[in-house]
């Protein structure tokens, strides 16, 4: 075990040899680029397209291998294989776009059709190649499940440079892509070429998928563009930070997974990278402060206390005794109640304020029932913090008699 850990550590700290280090760095840059482009693919709600792209690469890889074997007596050049992958994935994307536009098929149906057909063709071609008994064909199966084993320096550089270029183009278009994803109609009305932007997004995605094929494999490369942004969304509510977090998660996941596979060479790199990404996703889902599971549970805990405090103070304002032990304990702790359950001066004034707030909220609910329903637990906060002041003011006249009744009649009852 300690041997494994020290090997992992030396790989992670880039001391496991020149080639391994290059592959790790290349993978990290690839993961970061995939994580970044994935944000917009996810926000544009086109996550499945990357699955179509990756599966559509297989016939191109097989044909490029056949072409290389026939023309140069060697089909293993990564450049050539990726060129073939790009061409056939491009045809796949065009087929999806054409079917969606020209027929009544929805995009997911078109994707399913194209994905399975291209993959079927690829598998048939691969089986055919295996029967040919030519050199180098063993490496082809790496494209399905991913492996860093065969990667040489030039390959790692190709991957790193392409992923960096994709990221660069992406950074220069953050504004346009954000607008495209949030409000395409508005973007179009402003004179942006929405169709071209969509195509550019697909092109960048295509480039990332194609260069990720060798490392992650075409079955799993979709995870590289989907898991990081989904995990990042747990941490932030803004596009810019989401891009950074997603790129970081993708980069770290790919780096760590590739390091693992460099010391356990018989395990598929793609699977290791995706499992690493999944653990980041799991951690994000659990512990992210605002949207995570624990964060939500914590919020629920405070939410319950807010309800107890609010209901307790409203009871005080109506002059009612408080029986619920938690409510009582909370109000005593806040100094609103004396130990014997009688309200303190502070408690009485807090109760009056709360009664006013509640009356305003009730008036708001009466006036705008549907609006109020959309507010969820916001209505447990002071109304002035939640609604614009002109709106609160418009509620007040309706409220006037109620607020007098509750502030003067509270203790009497």
């Amino acid at each position: 075990m300690s041997e494994f850990l020290s090997a992992l550590f030396s790989a992670l700290s880039l001391q496991a040899g020149y080639n391994t280090s290059l592959v790790l760095i290349g993978s990290a840059i690839l993961g970061a680029g995939a994580g970044a482009i994935g944000v917009f693919v996810l926000l544009r709600k086109r996550a499945l397209v990357s699955d179509a792209i990756s599966h559509a690469t297989l016939p191109g890889i097989a044909l490029a291998f056949l072409f290389g074997t026939w023309a140069f007596d060697d089909g293993r050049s990564l450049w050539l294989l990726l060129l073939g992958a790009t061409l056939s994935a491009g045809i796949g994307v065009l087929a999806v776009e054409w079917m969606t536009r020209r027929t009544r098929l929805t995009e997911d149906t078109a994707i399913g059709t194209v994905l399975s057909t291209f993959f079927a063709l690829g598998i048939v071609l691969l089986t055919f190649i295996q029967s040919l008994n030519v050199g180098g064909q063993a490496g082809l199966s790496d494209f399905i499940l991913g492996s860093t084993a065969g990667l040489v320096r030039a390959d790692a550089i190709l991957i790193a440079v392409t992923a960096s270029l994709v990221s660069l183009v992406l950074i220069t278009r953050i504004k346009q892509f954000s607008l495209l994803c949030f409000d395409p109609l508005f973007a179009h009305a402003q004179g942006m070429k929405v169709a071209n932007l969509d195509r550019l997004l697909l092109l960048l995605l295509l480039a990332i998928v194609v260069i990720g094929l060798k490392t992650v494999g075409l079955v799993l490369v979709i995870a590289l563009t989907i898991i990081p942004p989904v995990a990042a969304r747990f941490w932030t509510d803004r596009v810019g930070p989401m891009l950074l977090v997603s790129a970081a998660i993708g980069g770290i996941g790919a780096y760590f997974g590739a390091a693992l596979s460099s010391i356990a060479a018989d395990l598929p790199t793609g699977g290791l990278i995706v499992l690493t990404l999944f653990s980041v996703f799991l951690i994000s889902m659990l512990v992210a402060p605002s949207r995570g599971v624990f964060g939500s549970a914590l919020k629920h805990f405070f939410f319950q206390r807010t309800i107890h405090e609010r209901q307790g103070l409203l009871a005080v304002s109506r002059g009612e005794p408080i029986f619920d032990p938690l409510t009582r304990r909370l109000l005593i702790k806040r100094g609103y109640l004396r130990a014997d359950g009688a309200p303190t001066g502070e408690g009485t004034s807090a109760a009056q304020k709360m009664a006013r707030d509640q009356a305003l909220w009730n008036a708001y609910r009466r006036a705008y029932p549907t609006e109020a329903m959309m507010l969820d637990d916001w209505s447990l906060r002071p109304i002035d913090d939640v609604l614009p002041k002109d709106l609160v003011a418009s509620l007040s006249p309706e409220l006037a008699p109620v607020s007098i009744a509750s502030s003067s009649g509270g203790v009497k009852r």
Binding site: T172, F186, A189, Q190, G191, D237, T370, E371, S394
Partner: protein
């Protein structure tokens, strides 16, 4: 209204305003078809600067489609749009378009201020990132709709009326000459309705052209200056007093209800003063 530049042509008994030289926003011969079924037929219509024009008609009359097709956001079979006598493509920067609130996913990771700044992207250079100046401007627009306190909140955590105000602020940030608003008053609270109407009136008073898709027949008279009655084709258009006759309204909603007997249209009662 006789001293305005608006020419009114009488087709039978209903007035239809046609393009004149100083119309701010003019659509001519616009026809839109989905799957060979015409949704808009030969629409010619012009809106003046300095007033608010409402587009009114029953559900499915093509009100939103008219705005989208006029802006080339959806394909049309025929038709041209002119903005201050320039073809649309040369004048897009002069037009602010506000889609329906329901058209976007409000879970999108953006704050209220982020959305308003999207209105400035058009004027920002290709590679320029919004800076302090843009922030200040976007903030001012949020304050104009009384949303200054909410600039940092994620847009999904705003109420429907507040989301509509954010959209209004984004349109303001565009500093356009023509404002095309799709259902700005749909499903909002009274305070939001008031502030949006006030903002639109202010824009009109500044000489802007404001066109609003509206669903509530009851409030048309009190809120707007001009009206386009639409039901797949132009039924009547021009100043409200000339256009909103019983006859015209009945013709617009014909086949859907008999105005005085059935009453409500989209939740609003048609009062007999038309």
């Amino acid at each position: 209204m006789s001293n305005t530049a608006l020419k009114t042509v009488f087709d039978g008994s209903l007035p239809i305003a046609t393009n004149t030289d100083d119309d701010a926003f003019a659509v001519s011969g616009l026809t839109v078809a989905y799957d060979r079924k015409p949704v808009l037929w030969d629409i010619s219509f012009a809106a003046r600067a300095g007033v608010i024009t409402a587009i009114v008609g029953p559900n499915g009359a093509g009100k939103s489609t008219l705005l989208k097709a006029a802006l080339n956001l959806i394909p049309s079979v025929t038709g041209q749009t002119q903005v201050f006598n320039q073809p649309l493509n040369q004048a897009r920067a002069k037009v602010a378009y506000m889609p329906q609130r329901a058209a976007v996913d409000w879970d999108f990771p953006a704050s209220a201020l982020d959305v308003v700044m999207m209105g400035l992207y058009g004027t920002l250079g290709f590679l320029r990132w919004p800076g302090r100046k843009e922030r200040a401007k976007a903030r001012k627009c949020l304050e104009m709709v009384d949303m200054g306190a909410f600039e940092g909140r994620q847009i999904g955590q705003l109420s429907g009326g507040q989301q509509q105000r954010v959209f209004m602020a984004r349109a303001l940030a565009q500093e356009a000459d023509v404002y095309l608003m799709d259902e700005p008053f749909a499903g909002v609270d009274a305070a939001t309705e008031a502030i949006i109407l006030r903002t639109l009136k202010k824009l009109a008073a500044e000489g802007k052209c404001v066109v609003v898709v509206h669903h509530d027949l009851d409030t048309v008279r009190t809120m707007f200056d001009d009206v386009l009655l639409l039901n797949k084709q132009v039924i009547a258009s021009g100043p409200i007093d000339d256009v909103m006759s019983d006859d015209a309204v009945r013709k617009t909603y014909s086949g859907r209800l008999s105005v005085h007997q059935e009453g409500p249209i989209g939740g609003a009662a048609v009062t007999p003063h038309f």
